[in-house]
């Protein structure tokens, strides 16, 4: 318990602050959207993953389930949070294309609230979910949305892990 409290004070990660704030949590507690990610990446046991996101408690949990490569030999990539901070759709597409070009599989979580501007020359559908689906299809037509949530939960989880997440399998 002491170790947890110490971590809570030291942690700079919003996600960890939120999860550890519950009175009764397990050490391996994860969010529903993180479970989607784990389920997706665990389908590829032979893949060496590159991690482009915060390295908090969830990173430690993932290291026990998948092989994460710290060198440059990876053939899969996990991107969300600070690994993909983009404020316009054009920047987002350019970054994702660059990051996934040499990989065979990818997991990408998009924080819709960090996107402020659509500046690619095509019209978006009316719904946000369909718009993000189209943008990801524009990155690579093989991207598939992993889940559609009924609602964004509370005031906090939206910034803990994105709820718009996509899997790419080439």
């Amino acid at each position: 318990m002491l170790a947890t409290r110490q971590y809570l004070h030291k942690s700079e990660f919003w996600r960890d602050l939120q999860v550890l704030s519950f009175c009764d949590y397990d050490a391996d507690a994860i969010l529903e959207q993180e479970k989607l990610m784990l389920d997706f990446v665990c389908q590829f046991p032979d893949v060496l993953w590159r991690w482009r996101a915060e390295k908090g408690l969830f990173y430690n949990i993932c290291k026990e389930h998948i092989r994460i490569d710290t060198q440059i030999k990876h053939n899969g990539i996990i991107i969300f949070g600070s690994g993909i901070a983009a404020t316009s759709t054009r920047k987002l597409v350019r970054r994702i294309r660059n990051l996934v070009q040499n990989t065979s599989v990818a997991y990408v979580g998009i924080n819709r609230f960090s996107l402020l501007e659509h500046n690619i020359d095509f019209e978006l559908p009316d719904s946000m979910e369909q718009s993000l689906d189209l943008i990801m299809e524009y990155c690579d037509p093989r991207f598939k949305r992993l889940h559609t949530f009924d609602k964004i939960d509370g005031n906090h989880m939206a910034y803990a892990h994105p709820m718009d997440c996509y899997g790419l399998c080439k």
């Binding site: 519950f22 994860i30 529903e32 978006l124 509370g154």
Partner: protein, 189 residues
């Protein structure tokens, strides 16, 4: 493996975290506390706008620790959504369902002011419009981030979507500051 499906239903929060959340959503409270030790309260541009543009000084301040405005010529009726507020300002009313309930004791002619309201974050467009319809009896001042109301902010402007759904008069003073009235607002300089 424990899976947290919903923040609101995952279990009780620790007291320390509740306190952290309360202050995170109401930065004015810590600033107000410092005034007890002689520091002046640093009014921000929105506070100054309120001072200059709200002529009725009897106001209702909702869920932002707005009692500090008492020190700047306003008489406040203060409503909060968290019991923690009572520790700092015992005169405030606690209402747990601000988004869809307007208490009867709120005087209809008094302007209502909300700043960065947590109760509206990630609400659907319909819920947001319902909130505006319920709370706007004379004048409502709303300082918020429009993209936190769930709509396609990459394609639409929130105010356009809202105007299509209500007869209220909405004036965007700036992108994050709306003046809403049930009759046309006076144009600001």
């Amino acid at each position: 493996m424990q899976i947290i499906k919903s923040y609101s239903t995952a279990g009780s929060l620790s007291r320390a975290h509740r306190l952290r959340m309360f202050h995170g959503e109401r930065p004015s409270v810590l600033l107000w506390r410092k005034t007890r030790f002689g520091l002046p309260f640093p009014l921000d541009p929105i506070d100054i706008w309120l001072q200059n543009n709200i002529s009725n000084k009897n106001i209702t301040v909702v869920d932002f620790g707005g009692w500090y405005l008492e020190n700047f010529g306003f008489k406040t009726t203060c409503i909060e959504s968290d019991y923690v507020a009572k520790h700092y300002y015992n005169d405030c009313y606690i209402e747990l369902n601000i988004a869809s309930y307007r208490p009867n004791y709120v005087v209809e002619s008094n302007p209502v002011i909300l700043r960065r309201p947590a109760c509206l974050k990630y609400k659907s467009l319909d819920d947001f419009v319902q909130f505006l319809d319920i709370w706007t009896k004379s004048l409502l001042i709303l300082h918020f981030e429009p993209k936190t109301i769930l709509h396609n902010h990459l394609k639409f402007k929130l105010s356009d979507l809202v105007k299509d759904r209500t007869n209220l008069h909405i004036q965007e003073v700036q992108q994050d500051l709306w003046q809403i009235s049930n009759k046309p607002c006076k144009k600001q300089d």
